[in-house]
Amino acid sequence: MKRLRAVVLKEVRQVRRDPFSLMMLIALPAFMLVLYGFALNFDVRHVRLAVQDRDMSAASRELVASFTHSSYFDLVATPAAGEDLDALLERRTAWAVLVIPRGYGRDLAAGRASPVQFLLDGADSTTAQTVLGYARALVSEQNASLVAGALARQGRRAEPPLALDPRILFNPELESTQFLVPGLIGFLLMLTAVLSTALSVVREKERGTMEQLRVAPLRTWELILGKTIPYLGISLVATLIILLAARALFGVEIRGPHLDLLVAVLLYLFGALGFGLLISTIANTQAFAFQAGLIASMLPAILLSGFIFQIRIMPVWLQVVTYLVPARYFLVILRGIILKGEGLATYWPQVGALVLYGVATVALASARLARREA
C-alpha cells in the first residue's frame, strides 16, 4: 500500500510539473463541450429556398407564402423564368428551388391536379430528406385547406382524416443536442483517458526512466494501479465539469440516479485507461503510441460507437467490430441514465461488457508488462 502511494505520488508530481498537459486534460474537454455542443446539431431550420413563380396567381402566392411563412424555409432568391436553376444549387446559393408552373391557379380552379416542381440539392442526404419532408407536409396542408374550401362551398363538411397521434418520449422537443451531448461526453473521456495513460508510460520508456521503475521494488499491479489512479482522478474532474456545463448550457439534465452514472463513468474510464496502458506496452515511441491511440480510440469513438451513426444499419461484420468499442456500451448506459431516467440495472448487459472490457485490457497490459520484467 505504501509503495502504491509512492507511485501515485510520483505520477501526480509528474503531472503537476507539466501544467500544459494538465490543462489540456481538464479544461479542454469542458471547453470542447461548450463549443461543439452548439455545433453538433441536425435540426434543420432556415433552409435556403429559391422560388420561381411562373404563375403569379393568388393560388400560387398562397403556396409560396405557406413555405416562406413556415420557420423551416428562408426565401433567398426569386429567379425569373429562364434563369439557370441548376446553377443556384451548384453554387449553393439555394438548397432547394420551388417551381410553380404557369397555369397553376387555373388548374386548381378547374379541379385539376397541378404539378409543382421541387428541385433539391441531395448531396447532404439527411438534410435533404428532412427538407423534402417539410415540403411534402406543407403541400399536403395546402391541399387539405383546398379540399375543405371546396367542400364548404358545396355545403359539405370534410370527413375526419385518419389521424396519427405521436407521443414522443425522452426528448419531446426532438432536439438533437439532447442526444449528441452524451455521445460527445463519451468521446471526450475516451480521448483524454486513452491518450494520457498511453503517453505517460511511453514517455518513461523514451526517457529511460522505465528501467529505474523496473528495478525499484514494485509489483506489476502496484505500478499499473499507481499510474492509473492519478489519471482516473483527472478524468473524473473533467467529467464533472462536462456534466455541469452540459446542464447549464444545453439543459441536458441527468434524470436517472447520479450514483449509477458515477459507477458507469468509472467503469468506462477503467476500460479506457486499461486500453491506454495496453497501447503503451506495445509502443516504443510516443509517435507510435499516439497514432495507435488516436486511430484506435478517437475515430471509432466518433464513428463506430453509435454517437452519430446508428450501429443497427451497419454491415454485420462491422457490427461485430463495434462490440470491441467500449464507447458503444457506455453510450447506451449514458443516454439511458441521462435521457431516459433509468438506472444501471436496466443496462446490465452493457455494464457486464464494460467490466469485461476493463478486466481484459488491464489483464493484457499487466501480462505484457510482467513478461518484460521477467
Binding site: F20, L35, Y36, L119, T130, Q286, M314
Partner: protein, 376 residues
C-alpha cells in the same frame, strides 16, 4: 537545390527506417476508409418497431402491412398493452411503438374519427424525425385510400378539387444515400489527421532526439530544411489521397463527377495548411506528447466538428458559424463534395481554392517565422 534534395532524401530514409510507420502510412488509410466508410450511414430504414394491435381487425392488419411494406419499419415484437412498449424503448431495442386501439376498424368503417398512436423514442432526434415523417405519410396515404373506398361504396359523387402535386427532383444524390455524402468526408478527415500528425511529429522528434542541433550546425538554410521536411509529407499525403479515393469510388460506388486532377491539385492546397498547422504546433511545444495533444485538441477535433463534414454549418448558431470561416477543412469539405458529387469545376470552386491557398501560405509563413527563431 542539391542541399534541398539531400534533406528530402534524409527525410524519406528516416520514414523508411521507422518500421511501424510504414503500415501506418500506407495501410491505415485504406483500412480506415473501408471501415469508417461502411459505418457512416444515416439512412433511416427498418426502424425497429413494436406493435400493439388491440383491434385485430382487417383494417388494423392492413395498416400494419402498409407500415412494413414501406420498408422503413420492421416489426420486431408485439405486446398487448401500450405500457409494455416503454420497456422496449428504454433498453433501446426498439425505437417506435405502434398502437392501434380497440375500435379502430369500426371507426374507420363508419367514418368516425380514427387515430393510431405512435410512441417514439425521441432521444435520437434526427432519425426520430425522419421516422415520424415516414409514419405520417404512410398513415395519410392509408387514410386517403380508406376514404376513397368508402366514398365509392356509398356511391357518392367524387369531389372535384384541384390539388397541388409535389414533384421532387433530387440533384447530385438522387437516391439520397447518406454514404455518398459522408464517405468523401471520411476521406478528408483521414487526410487531415495523417498529414498533420506527420509534420507535427517530424520536427519535435528531431528536437527530442537531439538531432535538431546537428541540423542547425549544418550549412542548410532554414527554408531548405523546412521545405525538405515538409515536401515528403506532402507527397505521402497526396499518395494516401489517391489510395483512399480509389476505395471511395470503386469500393463504395460514390460517383466522381468532376475532374480528378483538379481534386488532386486542390488537395495539395489543403495539405499546405495541414502541414503548416502541424509545423506551427511543433514550434509551440517542447515534447512529442504536448505536440500530439495540441495537434488533436486545438486543430483536429475542432476541424472535424466545425468544418461541416458531419454537422451542417447552417444549423450552427451565428457566433460558431463565424468561427468556421477560420477552418481550412471547411473549404476543403466544399471542394471535395463539389468535385465528387456535384461535378463542379474551378469556375465554381475558385473562392474556396483561393481561400485555402491564402490560408496555407499564411499558416506556413507564420510557422516558418517561429521555426527560424528557434534555429537562431
Amino acid at each position: 537545390m542539391r542541399v534541398l534534395w539531400r534533406v528530402i532524401v534524409k527525410e524519406f530514409l528516416q520514414i523508411r527506417r521507422d518500421r511501424k510507420m510504414i503500415p501506418v502510412i500506407f495501410v491505415a488509410p485504406i483500412v480506415q476508409i473501408t471501415v469508417f466508410g461502411f459505418a457512416v450511414n444515416t439512412d433511416v430504414t427498418n426502424v425497429p418497431t413494436v406493435l400493439v394491435d388491440q383491434d385485430r381487425s382487417a383494417s388494423s392488419r392492413e395498416l400494419v402491412e402498409r407500415f412494413v411494406e414501406s420498408g422503413y419499419f420492421e416489426i420486431i415484437g408485439s405486446g398487448e398493452r401500450a405500457a409494455e412498449i416503454d420497456r422496449w424503448l428504454v433498453t433501446s431495442q426498439a425505437q417506435l411503438g405502434l398502437v392501434i386501439g380497440q375500435g379502430f376498424g369500426a371507426a374507420l368503417a363508419s367514418s368516425r374519427p380514427a387515430a393510431v398512436q405512435l410512441i417514439v423514442d425521441g432521444s435520437d432526434a434526427a432519425s426520430a424525425n425522419v421516422a415520424l415523417g415516414y409514419a405520417s405519410s404512410v398513415t395519410r396515404e392509408f387514410g386517403a385510400l380508406v376514404e376513397e373506398r368508402r366514398r365509392r361504396a356509398a356511391g357518392a359523387p367524387p369531389v372535384a378539387v384541384g390539388q397541388a402535386v409535389l414533384v421532387p427532383r433530387v440533384f447530385y444524390n438522387p437516391d439520397l444515400k447518406s454514404r455518398w455524402f459522408y464517405v468523401p468526408a471520411v476521406l478528408a478527415m483521414i487526410l487531415m489527421v495523417m498529414t498533420m500528425l506527420l509534420s507535427a511529429m517530424g520536427v519535435v522528434r528531431e528536437k527530442e532526439i537531439g538531432t535538431m542541433e546537428q541540423l542547425i550546425v549544418t550549412p542548410i538554410r532554414p527554408w531548405q530544411l523546412l521545405v525538405g521536411k515538409l515536401l515528403p509529407f506532402a507527397v505521402i499525403g497526396v499518395f494516401q489521397m489517391i489510395l483512399a479515393s480509389a476505395v471511395t469510388v470503386f469500393g463504395f460506388g460514390v460517383p466522381l463527377r468532376g475532374s480528378f486532377p483538379l481534386l488532386l491539385g486542390l488537395t495539395t492546397l489543403f495539405i499546405l495548411s495541414t502541414l503548416g498547422l502541424g509545423l506551427l504546433v511543433s514550434t509551440l511545444v517542447q515534447n512529442q506528447q504536448q505536440a500530439m495533444m495540441a495537434a488533436v485538441f486545438c486543430a483536429m477535433v475542432p476541424m472535424i466538428y466545425l468544418s461541416g463534414l458531419i454537422f451542417p454549418i447552417a444549423n450552427m448558431p451565428p457566433a460558431i458559424q463565424a468561427v468556421t470561416y477560420a477552418i481550412p477543412l471547411r473549404y476543403y469539405a466544399e471542394i471535395i463534395r463539389g468535385v465528387f458529387l456535384r461535378g463542379s469545376g474551378i469556375a465554381v470552386l475558385w473562392p474556396e481554392a483561393l481561400t485555402l491557398f491564402l490560408m496555407g501560405i499564411a499558416i506556413l509563413t507564420l510557422a516558418a517565422l517561429r521555426f527560424r527563431k528557434r534555429l537562431d
